[in-house]
Point group: C2
Chain length 397, copies 2
Amino acid sequence: MEGPVINVGDSGAGALLHLMRDGQPRTRAELAGLTGLARSTIAQRIDTLLGAGFVGPAGEATSTGGRPPARFAFNPAARVALAADIGATHGRVAVTDLAGRVLAEHRDELDVALGPETVLDWMIERFHELLAGVGRGQRDLIGIGVGLPGPVEHSSGRPVNPPIMPGWDNFDVQGYLRERLGVAALVDNDVNIMALGEHFTQWPAAAHLMFVKVATGIGSGLISHGRLHRGAQGAAGDLGHLQLPHGADIVCRCGNTGCLEAIASGAAIAARLTGQGLPAKSSRDVVTLARGGSVEALHAVRQAGRDIGEVLAAAVSLFNPSVIVIGGSLARAGEHLIAGVREVVYRRSLPLATQDLRIVQSRTGDRAGVIGAAVMVIDHALAPSQVDAMLGTQSAR
Amino acid sequence: MEGPVINVGDSGAGALLHLMRDGQPRTRAELAGLTGLARSTIAQRIDTLLGAGFVGPAGEATSTGGRPPARFAFNPAARVALAADIGATHGRVAVTDLAGRVLAEHRDELDVALGPETVLDWMIERFHELLAGVGRGQRDLIGIGVGLPGPVEHSSGRPVNPPIMPGWDNFDVQGYLRERLGVAALVDNDVNIMALGEHFTQWPAAAHLMFVKVATGIGSGLISHGRLHRGAQGAAGDLGHLQLPHGADIVCRCGNTGCLEAIASGAAIAARLTGQGLPAKSSRDVVTLARGGSVEALHAVRQAGRDIGEVLAAAVSLFNPSVIVIGGSLARAGEHLIAGVREVVYRRSLPLATQDLRIVQSRTGDRAGVIGAAVMVIDHALAPSQVDAMLGTQSAR
């Protein structure tokens, strides 16, 4: 989970809940010992959290005589999160519990270019269906997390000049969802939520991780000290428009030449294969061809891996992650993409930066996005200050 | 300061001291209100901190009747830090108080290639002189912070294959200093401590900052969420060996071709000017020529700025800082270096990432390194867990 700011000596219920989110059952006395807070304060806070349902009874501890003391633990079923991962040509929605476990999900082909109202209305309808399916209602919602396939100003949740999302520029996604679902929404770009999802589920102990999505476009999400590094404008991780030395004659849709995305993305490979007379209209066709054993497609995918490796070698020198996860639809073309990446990164980066570096395929696959979107909104809503505001249990500060 | 990990409800003296490091004088009652801790706990912790000297009396609050309550505040004079910034050809040492203020300092020409014993013995002798000069002794030391001009494994403090530091590879700098000065030492590369020093003194509110040192070599230090991003092996920020598209025929001492450092460093410029018949043996000579108005030198410095800008444009897309600080000896050549950097970065980076980006000259100048080294060791030594271990005031956990 992202590290929330916890104030020194914070004795609110939110701080206690934060501690209990590890799922460990504990007695009041154990909690008092762990936090240094007075037993009376602990008892009050536990009562508040029990009342709100965030904490539940979890059996009894063994007694040294007399009535055995009750144990309490975090209750992940207390609320549910709604999560959506919108790609260029698909939409995936899920309902999760407060531990980020997917309770129900749904995926559709969906063109993001249909515009915000159409896409968000589709999302809202699916959310209602999923909620009904798991027997939960609007008052059970902790929040909504959404990933979009373009740059998003995280603080406002508004897309900023998104190249493949006509009609979405500066659209108030948060406001639209809040008005219709009655609960706060957080919005980020799809690669950031995939990085969060992969880190949360597969690499929780990795302090510095880089998630690279290779699909129609190319982008990355950075985790620094266990926390998403969004940068000053939420624009961090933009790999797609870094220049390749050998691409000077290839013009990118951004106007510059030699951009990685114009050379090694699924769209760029599909265009090249089409030029060679192969049936490749999209990133997905490239995967189909590669999996079918097309020599041209396999060759193109491996070369794309090398090209991505050139840029990642620079990113490794700069950011020095311990894990690079390669995801996105093109990662499903088999080992060729990642083999190309490894070939170049281990040769080009500094030895110190690569000595323990792991370059791996995404394990969460298609689900990284929705899980990350859920984790984003759960971490935000269960941050100590938010919980205290919700329950009215701030410290005296 | 770097954000320490503070446990929920931590009631140790270290957590209280952390809160008080803002320098604000407060009464015991105000501290109890701020932290939610019991007044009796606060009273005990204040007594402990008073006894150790970390906190001192700071006048009296106005009373609502009866004896006015005493105020207490952090006492930066309680201990002193020793700090050293070792460059390729100079050494700078300082004694600072616990707020990072320089009390005394000294600078010498010093060749790091003389090897660790010679350089560290010089450092130790200067430390003794500086301490005597400010009337402090060994028992006043909080710790030692050292910056070295090469890659350092931060956890062990050992240089790792440092290219310009013969004899230093894997040398136990921490052990050598601890044995002779009786206090713990932290070691990092010089660019990281310069980033810390510049952030601490000039840009404390900037969450994401990049400090670029342009001198004999080129490197950078990254601040993410107010904290130094060292990466998995402490190798993050290595800009010097990123490739420039137009440098394919220039071989770097690292064995690759087209590295930024082989093209735009002070050493590279000096070599080029020498080839043009100008008296430029070092980075410093380049600065002297540029300040003297040499057209060739000014041209070379501006072109170096553009080359650095090419690489920084990629770094900006990846890391999205709000501030880039350009420091190091070559930054003293005047506005030409930074003008070249700006010219390329604002043209090449994504508009979203540059809309509020500031590219500025280092303001701390030569002192950024020693102040950063002091801040590094002070933040480490005054982290709550360290203070509690020192004073025996851990929470019951």
